[in-house]
């Protein structure tokens, strides 16, 4: 079985995101007055072999080991079975 993992890594809420602020200013300048806040993160997609449970424990391990630095970031993930 193949599992597609989508991992979203973003700065912790307590950390100012100057890139997001810069994009917010640009959007506001373009008339997007409803936009209150912009925060930018990254999306990591990976395909894993194995069951959903196996993929989940591996994704959790990889997030802790390398993909997310908990000093400044937080991560969330979504797992889906896909065609191999």
């Amino acid at each position: 079985m193949t599992v597609l993992a989508r991992i979203r890594v973003s700065l912790k809420p307590s950390i100012l995101d100057p890139q997001g602020r810069s994009v917010l200013r640009s959007l506001r300048a373009q008339g997007a007055t409803q936009v209150q806040e912009v925060r930018i993160g990254k999306l990591i997609e990976m395909r894993l072999q194995g069951s959903l449970a196996e993929a989940e424990s591996e994704v959790q391990r990889l997030i802790a080991e390398l993909l997310c630095n908990p000093v400044m970031e937080q991560a969330e993930y979504q797992l889906d079975e896909v065609e191999g």
């Binding site: 700065l11 307590s14 950390i15 100012l16 100057p18 890139q19 810069s22 080991e65 390398l66 993909l67 630095n69 000093v71 400044m72």
Partner: protein, 230 residues
């Protein structure tokens, strides 16, 4: 004293560091990141540059390279480790120093000379050449130099005297105007609790040669050279 300067793919201050160390009397050898041993080095230098293209996070991939297990073991034994710029980022990613280095708050890559103030605090061979309170200038060149740690961690680091260098104005005062990258409490350089691991964003090795315009980095490196092994 002998030094090992670690070369990662994308390091670009490794040879500068070697030459600067040589100028203060420290013989050094270059050690490739894929090695698992660092040899008989008293000092390990993680040089500046863009290891692994800064992919994922600055220093994150380098922190997991084979040589870093040997560098961590060296640090645990009390061996000296100096991380400059990207080397500082690698030290935080490897957990050898606390905190993290975020993107500069102004979003610009900064390449200029800044004023720094040496803080007293934990006694360290790595900062022995810096008179507490001394104000001097060094070049910086980085995109991710905004030091961050949670407020309670910052309080503890300050309490333990681990903040070794702060950005300041020419008179030695710190504040938002003299803080180039938005670093928490203007932190430019940090020691670990034991004082044997030192990370800093500015580049002392780029200021050790009169021909290149400055020798203000010389005292810092010369101070390490003068420290003798017990």
């Amino acid at each position: 004293m002998k030094a090992a300067v670690i070369q990662f793919p994308g390091s670009n201050c490794d040879r500068d560091a070697t030459l600067a160390l040589q100028s203060v009397g420290i013989a050094s050898s270059l050690v490739w990141h894929g090695e698992t041993e660092i040899g008989r080095a008293d000092l390990v230098v993680l040089p500046g540059g863009f290891s692994y293209g800064d992919h994922l996070r600055s220093g994150a991939i380098a922190a997991h390279s084979p040589v870093m297990a040997a560098v961590s073991a060296h640090a645990r034994r009390g061996g000296l480790v100096l991380g400059i710029c990207n080397g500082f980022q690698i030290l935080t990613e490897a957990g050898l120093l606390e905190g993290a280095l975020l993107r500069n708050q102004g979003l610009h890559f900064l390449c200029r000379t800044v004023w720094l103030r040496a803080e007293g605090g934990v006694a360290s061979p790595l900062t022995a050449g810096l008179e507490p309170g001394a104000v001097f200038s060094l070049p910086i060149a980085h995109n991710e130099g905004c030091y961050y740690a949670d407020p309670e961690v910052l309080d503890r680091l300050e309490g333990e005297g681990q903040v070794a260098l702060r950005y300041c104005d020419p008179a030695g005062g710190s504040g938002p105007l003299s803080n180039p990258n938005g670093s928490a409490r203007s932190i430019a350089g940090l020691l670990n609790r034991a004082g044997n691991v030192f990370g800093l964003m500015p580049h002392p090795e780029r200021a050790c040669e009169p021909l290149l315009g400055s020798t203000s980095g010389y005292p810092l490196l010369a101070g390490i050279a003068q420290w003798a092994l017990p």
